[in-house]
């Protein structure tokens, strides 16, 4: 943009507004890191839990979820810390809201898991509802349709769980995670490099 004093006509003005706004939006699109990280971890944990519990009958099958959290949480926090360091002190309203949505999801998740354990019911349908909700809001904030569709896959998975038992819930969650996290995550990643 070397023509700093070039006077624009209305068509050019409109084009610049549209192009600049599109560019600004794309600049803070998520790169898919969290969706890929948690997508692989959750899908892997679902399959591992299913194998250990339903196939092998291993009593401490639930430890895979602890392992998933031990790997995923520090990786996610470290990634955000490094990104904050790079971006601070620049605020970004969409990113801030995105963070708040997933923070609310994390708190809700802990409560839902505790309640489900106490009530001795499978937490998976409830988790899928919560994940679907957060993914839907994220997809809407980022204006990224694959995430919105991914949220619908999560909700559909939750509804399907009504007709299935706990072990099958794990498989449904694994599939819903692939559809709702991994596919949109890879699409976000690809989009970033376009």
């Amino acid at each position: 943009m070397e023509n700093e004093e070039k006077v624009l006509n209305p068509q050019e003005s409109l084009r610049i507004i549209r192009e600049s706004i599109d560019l600004a939006k794309s600049s803070f699109r998520e790169n898919g890191f969290h969706y890929l990280l948690w997508g692989w971890l959750v899908a892997g944990a679902c399959l591992a839990d299913y194998y250990l519990d339903a196939v092998m009958g291993y009593p401490k099958h639930y430890m895979v979820w602890l392992g998933m959290t031990v790997v995923g949480a520090p990786a996610a926090v470290l990634y955000e810390w490094r990104r904050d360091k790079k971006l601070a002190p620049i605020s970004n309203p969409v990113r801030d809201w995105h963070g708040r949505v997933w923070m609310a999801f994390g708190i809700s998740l802990l409560i839902v898991i505790a309640l489900s354990v106490q009530a001795r019911v499978s937490p998976i349908p409830f988790i899928l509802v919560l994940v679907g909700f957060a993914t839907f809001v994220s997809g809407s904030l980022l204006r990224f349709a694959p995430l919105v569709l991914g949220a619908m896959a999560m909700w559909t998975g939750a509804a399907i769980c009504l007709a299935l038992g706990y072990h099958e819930h794990l498989l449904v969650q694994g599939i819903a995670t692939i559809l709702g996290y991994l596919i949109p995550g890879y699409m976000l990643n690809t989009r970033r490099h376009v």
């Binding site: 700093e4 004093e5 006077v7 050019e12 192009e19 706004i21 600004a24 002190p89 970004n92």
Partner: protein, 99 residues
């Protein structure tokens, strides 16, 4: 009836800066340079003009011991951008919106 457009925003680079800031609200100098593709000198001049018009606030600070210039859209700037956009609409027959 066509409405006259704000001359401050009838500049390619100034309009690009304002359009960027209308989305992100604040951005540092390097981010604006990347987004607009402008040279540092040119960008600096146009930022000063927007600041003089009261459309943006410029804060000079430090990050990791390096100087950091942060540009923030002011309420006046938001009003000016919205007015510019509404005035721009009068030049077009068809209904349009920026999504």
């Amino acid at each position: 009836m066509f409405k006259s457009l704000d001359p401050i925003l009838l500049s390619q680079l100034r309009l690009a800066i304002m359009s960027h800031l209308i989305v992100v609200r604040e951005a540092d100098f390097n981010a604006l340079k990347d987004q607009t593709g402008a040279t540092a000198g040119n960008l600096s001049v146009q930022i000063s003009k927007l600041q003089e018009a009261g459309y943006i606030e410029v804060e000079k600070t430090y990050k990791n011991n390096y100087p950091l210039t942060v540009c923030k859209l002011s309420p006046r700037g938001i009003a000016a951008f919205e007015a510019f956009y509404n005035d721009l609409k009068t030049y077009f027959d068809q209904d349009f919106s920026i999504k």
